[in-house]
């Protein structure tokens, strides 16, 4: 790991599905609550336009992509930017593991979705710890 010494959390920017909103909320739960000292975020569209600072961040640090659908925009945009994800995941897998918490809403997630995002962030926190220590995901 390099200069920022942080694990980059890169959610999809989904504006069409609750699972996109869930991906974004999981990223915020990780970056703001679960592991604020070990994580960083950047805007996915900055990679789309080839922003120098964003490219440097994802090329020099381990990145966890969290996608909201099978099109995997976050992973593909990261790879198109010349970086490889340390871990890729899809937000729906957390719902499949906690089916009692159905995420609903796109502009804003419902309470179940927010709770699911918290659980997902707690699960991903161990991976963040390993990556921050220079270990594999």
């Amino acid at each position: 790991m390099d200069k920022t010494g942080k694990v980059v959390i890169l959610p999809c920017s989904g504006i069409g599905k609750p699972t996109g909103a869930l991906a974004r909320e999981i990223a915020y739960e990780l970056a703001e609550r679960a592991r604020p000292e070990k994580t960083a975020m950047t805007c996915l569209p900055l990679l789309v336009i080839g922003d120098t600072d964003a490219l440097k961040l994802v090329r020099e640090n381990p990145v966890i992509t969290i996608d909201g659908c099978a099109l995997e925009c976050a992973r593909k945009s990261l790879e198109a930017a010349g970086a490889k994800p340390a871990l890729t995941c899809q937000s729906v897998k957390f719902f499949l593991a906690h089916k009692e918490l159905k995420p609903e809403g796109v502009a804003q997630l419902n309470e179940a979705g927010r709770k699911l995002a918290g659980l997902a962030a707690d699960e991903l926190a161990a991976t963040v710890d390993r990556l921050a220590n220079g270990e594999d995901a």
Binding site: G16, C43, A80
Partner: protein, 134 residues
């Protein structure tokens, strides 16, 4: 059967900034209110998607909405699809309306509602303007 023209809305998602959340929420809410007039695409699909996604701005007169001066939505749309018909910028809208940028990136409620409503109003006006010229 008459084919009605729809306006394509491309929102920056700005995960890193509150303005990105404002952008995303306002665009999404407008889309839900105007399904007969608007369509959208997730911005990263210009890269992650296929030919169909990259022709989006050729098929629809497009309005981009950006959260900061880097103007990712406008630039990505023009570079990877086609030139947008109009470009909006959240800081300009809020300045014009005398509103402050929200301090948080999520869990918006009544405190942030005036900001979201202001952006929806501006965007709705832009949609009508584009449709009038289409």
């Amino acid at each position: 059967m008459e084919m009605r023209v729809k306006v394509g809305i491309v929102s920056c998602s700005g995960e890193e900034r509150p303005e990105g959340t404002v952008c995303r929420m306002a665009c999404r809410r407008l889309l839900e209110q105007t399904t007969d007039k608007t369509v959208t695409i997730c911005l990263p699909l210009f890269i992650a998607g296929g030919r169909e996604e990259r022709t989006f701005a050729s098929k629809y007169p497009t309005i981009t909405v950006d959260g900061c001066e880097k103007r990712c939505a406008a630039r990505a749309t023009e570079t990877l699809s086609a030139k947008p018909r109009m470009t909006l910028l959240i800081p300009e809208i809020l300045r014009k309306r005398g509103l402050a940028v929200p301090r948080t990136r999520r869990n918006y409620g009544p405190e942030e509602e005036p900001v979201i409503r202001a952006v929806i109003e501006e965007l709705a006006g832009a949609v009508d303007e584009v449709l009038a010229k289409a």
